[in-house]
Symmetry: C2
Subunit: 361 residues, 2 copies
DNA sequence: GCCTGTTGTTCAAGTAGTTGAACGCCTCCG
DNA sequence: CGGAGGCGTTCAACTACTTGAACAACAGGC
C-alpha cells in the first residue's frame, strides 16, 4: 500500500467491473435500474477500497457544501454551550460547523485588535463556500457591510444576542431582557431591598444586550416602585471591573443589593466585598446573569438568571437549516426571544435592618 | 441585485474585458506577462463584483483544502486553550480547523454513547477532504483502525495526550509525566508529608495519561523515600468522584496530603472535606493538575501543576503543517513531551503535628 | 524588412464526479 | 416472431476554475 492515494470512483467502477456512471448512480442510491447483485458488487468494492463521497465535487456542482460558518469563540461556558447546541443540530442534519474567531478567545472584543485578521477569517469561510453563517454580537457589528454582501448572495446569517436595530437584515436569537429584568427586580424587591445598584458590562456597540439589560432593569424596578437604580458600567476596555465594584460597595449609604448584568461582573463584586470585609448576602445581596459554570461554586453560591445557551445554539442552527432548504427560504428576518429562569442561591437575602447597617458603617 | 448569485471568474473576466485565463493568471499573481493597467482592471473588477477564490476548486485540483480536522471537544479550560492554540497557528498559515466532537461535550468519553455517530463525524471530515487531523485521546483509541487507514492515505495525524504504545503510528504531544510527578512529590515531601494518597481519574484505555500520571507519582514518592502512596481511582463511568474522595478522607490514619490527577478530581476532595468538616490545608493538603480556570478561585486557591495547553495546540498544529509541506513529510512519528510548572497556592501546607491530628480524630 | 519583446489570446486537458438521454442487449411472454 | 421490460452502457454537458503550450498582434530597434 506504499503509493496508495485517495481512491477515486473510477477505481471502484473498475474493481466492480461496471461503468463509471453505473457506480456513481448506485452509490448515490439510484438503484432501481440495477440488479441487486451489481449493486452489492459496487458497494463492496467501494468499501474495500475505502472510497468516500467527495463533498468538494458536490459543493461545486450543487453550490452547497453542507458546511456552516460559525464565528463564536468558546469564550465562557455560555458560549461553549451555544456551540454545543449548534454542533448537535448540524450533526443531525449531516452538516458541519466551521468555527472561527479572532486572536485570543479569552479577550472580549475579538476584532478591535486586528480587524484585518477578522476579515481574513471571514474570507477563509467564504472561500470554502459555507452555506450559512452564525455570529456572535461583536462580529455582527464589526463586519456589518460584509454580511450585507453575504445576504445579497442569499447566504443565510443568524446573529445571537444582537439585533440589527435599523434595518433588521438577519435573523437573530436573543434573550427576553424585559421578562428577565422583571424576574430579578421582583426577587430583590420582594426581599425588601430599596437601595439597588446595577453593574453593567462595557457597553460597546456590540454589547447592545448589556445596555438593554440595564435599561430594562432600571425601568422594571421603577415600575415596581423599587426606587431609582444607580448604575455603573465598565470602561471601554472592560478593565476596571474591580474598581467599579469597589466604588459601588463603598457608597454611603451602601446599596443593599447589586444586579450584575453577567456572572463575570458579579465576580468583581465578590472580590470587592471580600476586600472591604462585607459579607454576602448579609451586607449586600448580589444577583448575576447567565448561570455560568462557576456560579454555583462561588462562595456563597450565586443567585443568577439561568439562560439556556444550548437552546440558543440549537435554534440558530435550525434557523439556518430552515432557510437553506425549508419553506422559510424567503420569509423576512425573524427574532427569537428566549426566556431565562431565576435560580435563587445563597447570594441574596433580606437586607439587614437599618440599625444593623448603621452599626456596620 | 435581486437575482445576484455568487460571482464567477468569467464574470470578472467579462467585466475587465480580458480572457478567462488572463483573469485567472492575474488574480493568482502571475503578473509578469501582463501590463500594469490590465492587472488593475482585473483586480478592480474582481473587487467590484465581490469575487473570491474558490477553495473547493483548488481542493479538487491540488488535493489540498487548507483545512484541518480537529476532534477535540471544548470540554474544560484546558481543551479550550488547546483549541485556541490550534486556531492561532492554523490561521497564521491560512488554514482553517474544523472542530467536531460527539454528543454532549460535557461528558468525558465522547464515543461510548454513540459509536456510530463518532464514525459519522470522522466521515464528515474526510468527505470534505481535510488535509490533516488532530485528536484528543478518546477518539484516538476508539477509532484506531480508521486512523490507520488515514495514515495510509498520507493524511497526517497528531494525537494529544495519548501515545499509541505498540506501534507508534502517529505524532503525539504529551505531558512530561515523570518530571511533573517529581515536582508534586518533592513539594509534598519537602513540606513534611508522609501519608500521601492519590486520586486518579477513570482509567479507561483512552486515559492512559491518568495511569501514567498515577504510576509516575507513586514511583517518584517511593524514590524520594516518601513511603507508599495509597491510590484510589474513579469507576468506569467516572461517577463516583465524591464517594472516592469521602473514602480517602475518612481513612484512619487519614492521609495528610492528596494528589488529584486533575483539578476536576481535586474539586471532589474539596467537597468531601467540606462535608467532613476538614480544613484545607490545615487538616489535609490537596494538589491538583492542569491549573484549570477555576483552580485559582477555589477556596482555598488550589496548588496545582500548570500545563501550557495553548502550547499543546500550537505544537500540534505546527506538526501537521510541517508534515504537510515541510521537510518532515517523511520522517518517522515523533513524540513531543511538554513540561508543567508547580503553582503553589493555599491548598498545601506542612501537615499538622501528630498531636493535633489525634485531637481531630 | 526582420528580429525581439511585450502583452494577451485561444486551445485543450485536467481535477472528481453527476446527470439526462439515448441506446444496446438479453430474456420472457404472448 | 414481436414487443416489453430489465439491466447496463456510452455520450456529452456541467460544476469553476488552473495551467502548459502554441500562437498572434503590435511596437520598437537595428
Amino acid at each position: 500500500m506504499a503509493g496508495s492515494q485517495v481512491p477515486r470512483l473510477k477505481d471502484v467502477a473498475a474493481k466492480a467491473n461496471v461503468s463509471l456512471s453505473a457506480a456513481s448512480r448506485i452509490l448515490r442510491g439510484e438503484r432501481e435500474r440495477f440488479g441487486a447483485e451489481t449493486c452489492n458488487r459496487v458497494i463492496d468494492a467501494a468499501r474495500a477500497l475505502g472510497w468516500r463521497r467527495n463533498l468538494l465535487v458536490n459543493g461545486m456542482q450543487t453550490g452547497r457544501t453542507r458546511t456552516i460558518g460559525v464565528m463564536i469563540p468558546p469564550f465562557d461556558s455560555f458560549w461553549v454551550d451555544v456551540l454545543a447546541g449548534i454542533h448537535l443540530v448540524l450533526a443531525q442534519a449531516d452538516y458541519l460547523p466551521i468555527t472561527v474567531w479572532v486572536g485570543d478567545c479569552q479577550e472580549m472584543p475579538h476584532f478591535e485588535k486586528d480587524e484585518d485578521e477578522g476579515f481574513k477569517q471571514i474570507s477563509r469561510l467564504l472561500d470554502r463556500r459555507v452555506d450559512g453563517l452564525i455570529l456572535w454580537p461583536s462580529f455582527a457589528v464589526a463586519y456589518y457591510d460584509h454580511f450585507r454582501e453575504l445576504l445579497e448572495r442569499r447566504v443565510p446569517v443568524v446573529v445571537i444576542d444582537h439585533e440589527y436595530s435599523e434595518d433588521q437584515i438577519a435573523d437573530s436569537i436573543e434573550t427576553d431582557e424585559a421578562a428577565s429584568a422583571r424576574a430579578v427586580a421582583e426577587h430583590l424587591i420582594n426581599l425588601g431591598h430599596e437601595r439597588i445598584a446595577c453593574l453593567s458590562a462595557r457597553e460597546a456597540a456590540w454589547q447592545a444586550w448589556s445596555v438593554r439589560r440595564r435599561e430594562c432593569f432600571v425601568q422594571v424596578v421603577e415600575d415596581l416602585g423599587g426606587g431609582e437604580v444607580k448604575c455603573w458600567r465598565l470602561n471601554a476596555w472592560g478593565t476596571d471591573g474591580l474598581e467599579a465594584a469597589r466604588d459601588i460597595l463603598s457608597q454611603s449609604p451602601r446599596p443593599t443589593a447589586v444586579f450584575a448584568v453577567t456572572d463575570h461582573e458579579a465576580v468583581f463584586l465578590y472580590e470587592a466585598a471580600a476586600e472591604l470585609g462585607l459579607r454576602i448576602p448579609q451586607d449586600v445581596s448580589i444577583v448575576g446573569f447567565a448561570d455560568l459554570d462557576f456560579a454555583a461554586t462561588l462562595r456563597p453560591p450565586l443567585t443568577t438568571m439561568r439562560q439556556r445557551p444550548r437552546e440558543y445554539g440549537r435554534r440558530a442552527a435550525q434557523l439556518i437549516l430552515d432557510r437553506l432548504d425549508g419553506d422559510m427560504a424567503d420569509s423576512p428576518p425573524t427574532t427569537i426571544r428566549l426566556g431565562a429562569d431565576l435560580i435563587v442561591r445563597k447570594s441574596t437575602s433580606r437586607p439587614a435592618a437599618e440599625s444593623a447597617r448603621d452599626r456596620d458603617d
